[in-house]
Point group: C2
Chain length 212, copies 2
């Protein structure tokens, strides 16, 4: 599984585009993962949107993750669910989900990362890695030292989320993140596909050893 460029759709910070339009453009720019996140719409509407995105991601073999709602993820054929520390516990989700279903977990420290791994997570996301305006309730960033620390303590994939942009993506990858999840750096751009392509190139350059 490739989690290099992980885009979280958010209708509220972009210029009037729908979740599906954001997904389509982000994939055109090289996104490896699309996460659908919307806390405001009804379950039925979320499933409707999720099914449209599922059709889009399937055509391009992009991973499709639904935030929080395991039931919605199962109902729209998503590849996985992303769970926060206030969402369903990883081991409970693992019992309900079918085999091969991806479970990702937001963590704030090594302890939460190790617990998520033990409970069956496929990846953990240090959230927020830097402080971010896209999710104001997320609190202060936990920083690159914490990212390295988590990376040393778990064997599952570690990604970074929160406050990541083209100016700091190099040091995030250098700190050992397998990928970066972004909202505003891509979804808030005038040209979503170009912004995604730019970040993807930076990640690739950095992984190839040359700092961007």
């Amino acid at each position: 599984m490739n989690y290099e460029l992980y885009i979280i759709t958010d209708e509220h910070i972009d210029f009037g585009k729908t979740h599906a339009e954001i997904a389509e453009l982000a994939i055109a720019g090289g996104a490896d993962v699309i996460q659908l996140r919307d806390k405001s719409c009804s379950s039925r509407e979320l499933i409707r949107i999720g099914r449209v995105i599922h059709g889009i991601t399937r055509r391009s073999s992009t991973i499709f993750i639904v935030n929080d709602r395991l039931d919605v993820a199962l109902a729209c054929g998503a590849d996985g669910v992303h769970l926060g520390q206030g969402d369903m516990r990883t081991d409970v989700a693992r019992q309900i989900a079918p085999p091969g279903f991806i479970i990702g977990v937001s963590v704030r420290n090594v302890e939460e990362a190790c617990r998520a791994e033990r409970e069956g997570a496929d990846y953990v996301a240090l959230s927020p890695t830097f402080s971010t305006g896209s999710k104001p309730d997320a609190g202060p960033g936990h920083g690159l030292d914490m990212l390295r620390e988590i990376q040393r303590n778990v064997s599952v994939t570690v990604i970074a989320i929160g406050g990541i942009h083209r100016g700091n993506i190099g040091e995030v990858i250098a700190a050992g993140a397998a990928g970066v999840a972004v909202i505003s750096a891509v979804v808030g751009a005038t040209d979503i596909a170009a912004a995604a392509r730019d970040l993807k190139n930076l990640i690739r350059q950095c992984k190839a050893g040359g700092h961007p």
Copy 2:
């Protein structure tokens, strides 16, 4: 399955009692079904509360239903889920849920009731039967003629929800409802167990042929 007295827990309209305390008292008063509804707390907190209620309902063979969230219902061992018209579709929930899982659906008219039955609902609830202050966005009541009309057109259990109290429960049962779902008439009472017992007695008297 007996759906005669169906209590929806609501922490926000009662006098400081928790969902679990409400459930315990309602069951002591004769509740046949407990539905956990809380749109404000996190998934993890809802599952925690649901597991406590599951322990309570299991001891008394009371049916335990979770509102809207099929994933939460599965995670806390509930007997079923209650779906609104904005929640997951009944046939989709049926595909995800294990055999024997109860699915109830709120309906506003005969068409929605027939669709719910066709898609695999175990019961339908005319919502709201009367206008109600407990759920202000529910709109005007659909009335007893609609309750009779639905009752004539489906073979699944039909219950009434919304604006039901001791003064109109007789006519609701006389109109063919197999049971009544209430929030404020029980949860808003000073003595929840006594209020439940009173409604249960009225339902029984009415079903026995004597109008209360």
